[in-house]
């Protein structure tokens, strides 16, 4: 019914390729989020599914039918827009019933459906208001009612919560999830807010530079990112990346050493690799007791503390003359700093020498050149000839 398939869909404008050979399979009843930074092609992808933009190449199927060149009205989709896009010259009832009236439904059927739709989004008693007499959240609910009233096969939502204030956004997020359970319709949801994507979707499609990077359930994207981009994009604050080289004994750079056998992760020594570790998987020596298999100690100096209430983010400098690189775009190049998340009760202060370890099972390895993931998590026990044997050697 509501499955959506994109096959090699490409959209080129005069000088840019907005979407590049996108292949996407979305199942019936699935809630899929398209996420990515601004200008990555996620909105263009959605517009092509809606029919507002015609792809340069490729084929789009909705519910098994090819719709590539059909006008939007014949595709059985409904859309909620970022700027809400209620018709300002119509009251709520007329806005919701717009599509039904165009399709010449009879009056009673329209009344019945509008009532049901407005019940679902809790708009009772507001049907004769004009859009400019309503709050942002109410308007957004009208827009959603306008979309659901036609029982579409597919819902398209283009950053519908982006223009709402933070509190309302969280509220509407749960409302949308409830709605999805109630209607059981395919929902394709575009957002650049990865918190929305993580909390709501069945699967996340991460898009960058017009290309699909990964489409997987949220936790898979979080725990097993397919490449450096996904690793850096999903998760807030972002994953730490440390550039280095793969030797026969494992990962090496000036400050960070992680021992393992390259063969275990299917790599060869000598490759340039990037090590990724999430802030919550970096531990101070005090907290490391619970770790079954910590890595070697890394010497660091704390720089800035960011107490969040439930945790403290600690910026660690790995060498004395290092400075904090505030440019978020420079992913994969930060060899001199690490972000660590610690317990709020931790006794830690700024400019303090601290030795940290990483959780071996949570270490990600990426090929620096291609960005592709090599492995997620190293073997739970240190392989012989690595950490353990180092200790044994010193015993000798």
């Amino acid at each position: 019914m509501g499955e959506v398939n994109l096959e090699d869909v490409t959209k080129r404008y005069e000088d840019v390729t907005a979407v590049d050979k996108m292949n996407l399979e979305i199942r019936d009843g699935e809630f899929v989020c398209l996420v990515g930074p601004s200008g990555c092609g996620k909105s263009t992808t959605m517009e092509m599914i809606a029919g507002l933009t015609i792809p340069t190449e490729g084929t789009i199927y909705i519910g098994g039918h090819e719709v590539t060149n059909l006008p939007p009205k014949d595709r059985g989709v409904a859309m909620v827009f970022q700027n809400i896009a209620l018709f300002p010259h119509m009251d709520v009832y007329d806005n919701i019933s717009f599509g039904l009236r165009l399709r010449k439904y009879d009056k009673e059927e329209i009344d019945r459906r509008v009532e049901r739709a407005s019940d679902i989004v809790q708009l009772e008693g507001m049907l004769d208001r004009m859009p400019d007499e309503m709050s942002g959240g109410q308007r957004q609910r009208v827009a959603i009612a306008r979309a659901i009233v036609r029982n579409p096969e597919v819902f398209l939502m283009d950053e519908p919560l982006a223009n709402l204030d933070a509190k309302l956004r969280v509220h509407m997020r749960t409302e949308l999830q409830r709605l999805h359970k109630e209607l059981d319709t395919t929902i394709i949801y575009v957002t650049h807010d990865q918190a929305e994507a993580m909390t709501m979707s069945d699967r996340i499609a991460v898009i960058d530079s017009g290309q699909l990077q990964q489409i997987d359930p949220p936790l898979v994207c979080y725990n097993e990112p397919a490449n450096l981009f996904v690793a850096g994009f999903i998760g807030s604050p972002a994953m730490n990346f440390v550039d280095g080289e793969l030797t026969e004994n494992g990962f090496r750079n000036e400050k960070v050493e992680v021992d393992f056998d390259p063969a275990d992760v299917g790599a060869t020594a000598g490759d340039d690799v990037t090590l990724g570790i999430r802030p919550e998987d970096v531990y101070t020596l005090n907290d490391a007791g619970s770790l079954a298999n910590p890595t070697k100690e890394i010497e660091a100096v704390t720089d800035v503390l960011e107490p969040m209430g439930d945790e403290i983010f600690v910026y660690l400098l790995l060498s004395e003359d290092a400075t904090v690189d505030l440019d978020e775009e420079s992913r994969g190049g930060m060899t001199d700093q690490l972000l660590m998340s610690v317990d709020p009760d931790s006794d830690i202060s700024e400019e303090q020498d601290v030795n940290v370890v990483l959780d071996r099972t949570k270490v990600h390895l990426f090929d620096t050149e291609t960005g592709k993931a090599i492995s997620h998590g190293l073997t739970a026990t240190a392989p012989s000839g690595a950490d353990g044997s180092t200790a044994a050697e010193s015993d000798d």
Partner: protein
């Protein structure tokens, strides 16, 4: 110290020596406060425009109220009071029929112009395509051509004087003289550019999201134009409509030449006013009265639509 005192005394003396006349005083104040100059210029200009635009109407009223046999060596006041002229004018010439013709011509042209200019405005305002600027400029250029340049060929065409030879068949252009068509068609073409410009600006300001929403909800592009974009651009459409109507109503050239001047031949008020001219007399009072009556509808239209026109020409911005 002493020099300071001397200096002070010297200055006071010099101030007292300068005596200024009223104009110099005013100039002095203006130099200190330039706003005064702008304000006086505004008043001068306003008075000038009021006199030049309103005085002719006053003069028409003076002429209309003066009995025709007394119209000579007129002063600023009517010689006599003859309101009956406003009844006589309808008895002498079926002026109401001429006005009806003017209305029909004006409304038909307005409808045609709004319809076509809406389509053009949509394309120019909302779509990007190569050659858009060039086409806009071409329309602008054509709107500056003198209408007289079109007249002879159009007259030939509309009076059946143009033959199209298609092999053995020769098709003559239809004789449309004394019908509304030879006036409405040139009017539409001449007044279209202005409306296209107004509507382009308005349609271009409607957020894309609204059109997209309408199209997803089930309209075609045209449907979105008529159901969403035009209703939201109401001030602009009203402005374009009123301006077109007034232009047609005021038009002289084609109105005068494309018919034989009879009310039954769709001649507008221009011909009606001239119709009072008899072989042996020239009833200036009736002509003046007819002119006043002819102006009234437009004056009323402007007053009624004023708010719309002003908001249409100035603001027109829409929130979402």
């Amino acid at each position: 110290m002493a020099t300071d005192n001397q200096q002070g005394a010297f200055e006071t003396n010099r101030d007292a020596e300068i005596k200024r006349g009223p104009l110099e005083t005013w100039v002095g104040k203006v130099i200190k406060n330039p706003k005064r100059a702008y304000r006086s210029m505004f008043y001068v200009a306003t008075v000038f425009f009021l006199v030049t635009t309103l005085f002719p109407f006053y003069w028409l009223l003076v002429l209309a109220l003066t009995p025709n046999n007394l119209i000579s060596n007129m002063g600023l006041l009517p010689k006599g009071f003859n309101p009956g002229v406003f009844v006589t004018m309808f008895e002498r010439v079926p002026f109401h029929l001429y006005m009806f013709n003017s209305f029909v011509l004006g409304l038909t042209t307005t409808v045609i112009v709004l319809l076509l200019a809406s389509l053009a405005g949509y394309v120019f305002g909302r779509l990007r395509f190569p050659g858009r600027t060039f086409l806009m400029l071409a329309i602008l250029a054509i709107s500056y051509f003198p209408p007289a340049a079109f007249f002879l060929p159009l007259f030939q065409l509309f009076t059946g004087g143009t033959n199209l030879v298609l092999g053995p068949i020769t098709v003559s252009s239809p004789d449309l003289f004394n019908t509304p068509a030879p006036m409405v068609l040139p009017f539409s073409a001449l007044f279209m550019p202005l409306s296209i410009f107004i509507l382009t600006t308005f349609y271009g300001q409607i957020p894309d999201g609204l059109e997209d929403a309408a199209r997803v909800e089930g309209t075609t592009r045209l449907g979105a134009l008529f159901r969403v974009i035009i209703p939201l651009s109401a001030p602009g459409v009203a402005t374009a409509g009123v301006l077109t109507f007034i232009s047609v109503y005021n038009e002289f050239f084609f109105s005068f030449l494309m018919n034989n001047g009879e009310a039954s031949s769709w001649a507008p008020i221009v011909a009606g006013i001239l119709k009072y001219q008899g072989q042996f007399d020239t009833p200036y009072n009736l002509m003046a009265a007819a002119s006043i009556v002819g102006v009234l509808p437009v004056a009323i239209l402007v007053i009624v639509a004023q708010e719309r026109i002003v908001s249409g020409l100035t603001a027109g911005a829409l929130k979402e």
